[in-house]
Amino acid sequence: MNKALIVFLFFGLTCALFIGRLFDLQILDDRYALYANENVIRKERMYAPRGHIYDRNGKLLVSNVPAYDLMVVPSQTTAFDSLDLARLVSVAPTDLRSKLKKARRYSSYRSSAVIRQISARSFGALQEHLHRFPGFYVQQRAQRSYAHVGAAHALGYIGEVTEGFVRKNARYRMGDLHGVSGIEKAYEEELRGRSGARYIMVDVHNREQSAFADGAYDTLAVPGWDIHSTLDIDLQLNKPLFDRAVLAEYPPGSPFKLINALIGLQEQVIRPSSSFSCRNGFHAKGLHVACHCGTDRPVALRLSISKSCNNYYCQVFKKVIEKYPTAQEGLDMWSTHVRSFGLGNFLNNDLPTGRRGFVPNADYYDRALGYTGWGATTMISLGIGQGELVLTPIQMANMSAAIANRGHYFTPHIVRLIGDRKNKAFLDKKHTSIDPGHFDEVIEGMHEVFEKGTALASRHDSIAMCGKTGTAQNPHGQDHSIFIAFAPKDDPRIALSIIVENGYWGSRWAAPIASLMMEHYLTGKVARTGLKQRMVEGDLRAEYALAGPKQKQP
């Protein structure tokens, strides 16, 4: 065989092998084009500024302020004076060194945050000297800023997402912030906006080189919606993070008598003129409910409200229950009426926390006492808002609003406007099971509470206020001072419930506070400075001391 031919064959086969291989790699296999893009294209997120939160009058409550993180790309650093840098960012040199070590361990080529949230002042000083520290740069981030200390429980706060959260929510990345509680959590979707993306080309060291395809695929960040809450920041004074308005449950006490009056009217067991004589309380089969209304004449509806007559309501409650053949049916009917005021269940409002409260029904007593083990008198304390019944302050306020509206309410909500759209979720009118006609007499009674009843001391000269005092029994200490109110009487604009823990009688603390708040809300100021001063300087320590031994219980 010709030797040259064999050599040609060798060369020719090699050539064919290579061209075949190139055909396979470049024409048949399309994975490599993807890999090449994966190598070089980095998606950079453009963070959307979180929406601001305003109060109902447009006062800015929560906004964003820039915060600065000192970042480092370890591979780009040169020898530097770590003492000097530590002084500039005001941290301990050992701290800085350990942070740098950590960054280097994470990656030489990717950036890590060395110091988070440098103050604006340190940032100013740092920026001037940063050129001496190659490989370091400052990244701006947004931090939440709270203009007022009040209402923290309702506004909530934001925090970094957890690993578990990221796993469940694909749109979040580690290091992202999200609402953890309050409005920040409930309106996370609206507030967060949509982050944009920028596609850049990087080299093998992850250094930015140029925009990919001249930015054709880039998207802009869409800022979060601004939110207008229903809060009036001027009425917000409490600071604790336990939101008593939705989380604390109290026996409603006397204000609940209003509901029983309305049920009595609706069930036609009483008329406004029906009256009961009060002989220091309600007496039945060895049961005695004391009463301090102090009237010796027959008590009709209005007077029963303004004087908070216990006997009257025990009688009404008994009549309601006994109108039906069995206590079960009676109580279930009563329970249905009560629940129509939004009591005893979640209001399904827009705060991420809350309690149901508790409105007992027949089932409850059957289980506790047996089918025949109970009747109207067994549970007579429900008539005066005590016993197993517990409500949250927000439910009581809602109850007050439903009465003010003569039979309907809107689910209480804390956000009014999202951007410039109304918060659609809460525009539905909810009707109670009481006919609107029954309310006027009850409201007159509530007005008399201020005019000549238990809240006379809190009366306002020009605003027609309506309210009802209460004292909720507290087994752990001094009783709670309770008050629900709305104003003005004929065209109500504000309804509220006030609870002063350990405040004793409703008229002592809760009623004056309610009165002052309504005045402030309706007139924009408080003219009764003396009363206000008494409330602001008020000291409950006397009441706590009074309840001394009881307080030690859990």
Binding site: K3, A4, I6, V7, F8, F10, F11, G12, T14, C15, L17, F18, I19, R21, L22, F23, L25, Q26, I27, D29, R31, Y32, A33, Y35, A36, N37, N39, V40, M201, V202, D203, V204, H205, Q209, S210
Partner: protein, 420 residues
Amino acid sequence: MREGQGLFWKLDGISIGLYMLLVLLGWMNIHSAAYQPEHEHFWSMDTEYGKQMLWIGSSMLILLFLLFLDGRLYERIAYPAYVLSLLALAGVLIFGSTISGARSWYTFGGFSLQPSEFVKCTTALALAKLFSKESSREGMSARSRWIAFALIALPILLILPQPDLGSALVFSAFLFVLYREGMSLTVLLGPIGIGVLFLLTLLLDKVWVFSGILLLSLAVAYFSRRRPGFWRGPLLMVALGIGVVLSVDHAFHQVLEDRHRNRIDILLGKAEDPKGIGYNTQQSLIAIGSGGLSGKGFLQGTQTRYDFVPAQTTDFIFCTVGEEWGFLGSSLVVLLFTALLFRLIFLAERQKSRFSRAYGYGVAAILFLHFAVNIAMTVGLAPVIGIPLPFFSYGGSSLWGFTLLLFIFLRLDAYRMLIL
């Protein structure tokens, strides 16, 4: 006819044209691979493509100089040049400087030379000289055979301790010369067979490999059964085969270093490590594979421009071709090389003197081995072995070395009629 007359017209235009084309294409791709957007000038001496232009210019001077030397000179200086170059190789082990792990370089100021690049040329000359002494035009004596093996083995032994496995491997190309100048095909197929056996042993169970050897030997024995002593060849095959298989385990695990072992494991698909050892090959495949049919265009290769491919101006220069010029461009380069190799064999065969023919085969073989190993490495058919792609890769020593190699032959060819 006197030497020197009408030299230009006697030179082989096709070879020179292919050489020029490859050098120019090489420079273009080096430009692309070394391109930095922040360098605004198209031309700068600080860049690799700037320096390469200097190497190309000096190569032109070298080839002009070569063309004006008397062709008979090479035959005369073949042995002394060989000895001198071996001394230079020995010297580099002592005086050389270490660049990327291998003590292979002489450094003069800012300028480095790799003697192994020139030893290829002197070894080719020495082999040619050896065979020119034979009494007839074909065949070789037993003595020449041993001397030839020694001539090839000496530089390998001197290069291995640098260590530079790639350059040492290149000398196996001279087996083509031995084959052409009288040895049987076994001299080519033997090492290839051993190589294949080596890989098969690592990949398959030994039982299968043994059975394969046995079957193959029986087949060979059957087809050559009419020849006297026909059993000797197949018996040797079996003995050698079993010997190789048994030594492979030992060789693979005891003799080879980890880095070689890893590269082979990755090539065989026994290990995957795209971020570590396999990174080079993976990035090289991505660069070439992402080129598609017609490539991303000049200076548009993202793999090359953003430094994902290692050694992209030198050993992996073919990645740039594949990425920026696609299947069309890279096939063209493969075809250009093959054309040059074919042309060189064609020229070698038309030589009147055995010296020129043997030397011509040497040139073609060296270029072929570089080309084959380099391309095979970049397209993932061979483990990563660091040898340059002739005329393409950045580097003065290799360009000078290949120019020297090629143009001595073209000079010999131009006056082939003179030497009888």
